[in-house]
């Protein structure tokens, strides 16, 4: 659909940069994301998934993984979701890269790996959506991370019915 793996990385960065500050896993996920982004196999897997047609075995595998990530413990996610998937498929490849990147001192963290894989797959789904055409992509990339974070903050306050912390512009 015209997007490339680097665009998916940008989406991931934007999300991690604007993530809610209180989230415990955010620093670990960000560190793992930095490692995963340097993995050429990850880029290959993303490129395949971006071009994949809905309804294919690979696409079904992607959806199965997301379902398993929601419904099972992280440690069981891989077994549940990949039982019927091709071991050499792009989703499996992506998860393997995330798993390897999640490791601190050689010990992979299943929860971080699953979260990171979910983020990558979500970014792929957004790039395939109507927000992923050329012009929309350029517009999204033009937004400053700080401004996006400000939107998310105001929206969270609104959603939680908290008093708004409105930024007041200078008087003219």
């Amino acid at each position: 659909m015209g997007a490339d793996s680097h665009q998916v990385m940008r989406v991931l960065d934007r999300c991690l940069d604007t993530a809610e500050s209180g989230r415990d896993t955010a620093p670990d996920v960000a560190a793992a994301a930095a490692r995963a982004k340097a993995d050429p196999d990850m880029h290959d897997a993303i490129s395949v998934l971006l071009a994949e047609e809905p309804g294919t075995t690979t696409w079904e595998c992607l959806l199965r993984f997301l379902t398993a990530a929601r419904q099972t413990e992280a440690a069981d996610c891989m077994q549940c979701s990949f039982e019927r998937c091709d071991n050499t498929g792009p989703v499996m490849q992506m998860f393997s890269s995330c798993h390897a990147a999640s490791g601190v001192a050689g010990e992979p963290d299943a929860e971080v790996a699953v979260t990171l894989a979910q983020l990558f797959l979500a970014a792929i789904m957004v790039e395939r959506s109507s927000f992923g055409d050329d012009r929309s992509r350029r517009l999204r990339n033009a937004a400053a991370h700080g401004d996006v974070a400000a939107v998310i903050n105001v929206w969270r306050n609104l959603a939680a019915h908290k008093p708004e912390t409105r930024r007041r512009s200078r008087p003219r």
């Binding site: 929309s136 998310i152 200078r170």
Partner: protein, 299 residues
């Protein structure tokens, strides 16, 4: 299978149907009556057809001469992908990593679109077209103003879009509008209220009596504004900032003694090894070389 013939339906391997004259190849004079009896020989093998199918490209399938049709097909593909995304968001209960990514990208897109529309003034035309006219002009606001409005509008649009559209399942991918179009529409609906709110604030700030009241309160030492430590703290900060800008060590120390401790030129000169005139001259050049320098008068 065999019962089909008995039921009056054509057999599975039927003779070639009679062709109309229009579909007959030009120059052909072969009549159907001369066709050999029995099953018709296929002019191509399956492998040849497979090869043709493999060689087909999108351009062959969708006429490049018809961009509108091509755009329609692509739009349909995007809407299907939108549908897949919304299904996943709903399945996750509109929370979690997938939701975080989607919301971030929705916000990124909307803020960029709103900033562009406000910069050109197109936003006013869009709102008017939607039946929500706003009276304003592009000369009314700075970039900071636009950003403030864009942030607030996008946040409110997100709340509406998620709470009133996606969560209740009111967006239907089969109805022609992509997720993106629907969301930008939500932003347009929110913009007039946010613009009016901002314009009202600007009017209140701009009222002369408001500014005068603020000034009077500060000057007269209104307890609401009074902070006995404020003046000294601001002055100390200013001095520190300015001192850091002085490259010469002797001059910096002299300036520190004079401005921070209130030492005379002579006292400062004794400490740093300069005459009183020397200190005065250096500080004079410093003040005139840097117009913003000299938070206090020297003695």
């Amino acid at each position: 299978m065999g019962s089909a013939e008995g039921a009056g339906r054509p057999p599975r391997i039927a003779p070639a149907p009679a062709r109309s004259g229009r579909s007959r190849p030009p120059g052909s004079d072969t009549s159907d009556a001369t066709a050999p009896p029995g099953p018709v020989q296929a002019p191509l093998d399956d492998s040849e057809v497979d090869e043709v199918e493999r060689a087909l490209t999108d351009d062959d399938l969708w006429s490049p001469a018809d961009p509108a049709e091509r755009a329609r097909v692509r739009n349909a593909q995007r809407r299907l992908a939108d549908h897949a995304l919304v299904k996943e968001l709903a399945a996750a209960g509109f929370e979690g990593p997938v939701f975080d990514v989607a919301v971030t990208e929705f916000a990124s897109y909307a803020i960029a679109v709103l900033m562009a529309w406000m910069r050109t003034g197109e936003i006013f035309g869009k709102c008017k077209a939607k039946g929500r006219p706003v009276s304003g002009s592009t000369s009314d606001w700075s970039r900071d103003d636009r950003l403030e409005i864009a942030v607030e509008t996008t946040a409110r649009a997100l709340k509406y879009f998620l709470g009133e559209v996606l969560v209740p399942g009111k967006w239907d991918h089969s109805r022609g509008a992509t997720l993106k179009t629907f969301f930008v529409g939500a932003c347009l609906l929110q913009f007039p209220n946010e613009y009016d709110r901002w314009a009202g604030e600007q009017r209140r700030w701009g009222q002369p009596e408001g500014e005068q009241a603020l000034e009077q309160a500060v000057v007269s030492g209104d307890p609401q504004w009074a902070d006995p430590t404020g003046d000294a703290a601001v002055r100390a900060c200013t001095v520190q900032e300015r001192l850091a800008e002085i490259p010469d060590r002797q001059t910096r120390q002299a300036a520190w003694l004079v401005n921070a401790y209130g030492a005379s030129h002579a006292e400062a000169g004794d400490v740093v090894g300069l005459s009183a005139d020397g200190v005065e001259g250096r500080l004079y050049r410093l003040r005139h070389g840097r117009p913003t320098w000299a938070p206090t008068a020297t003695r």
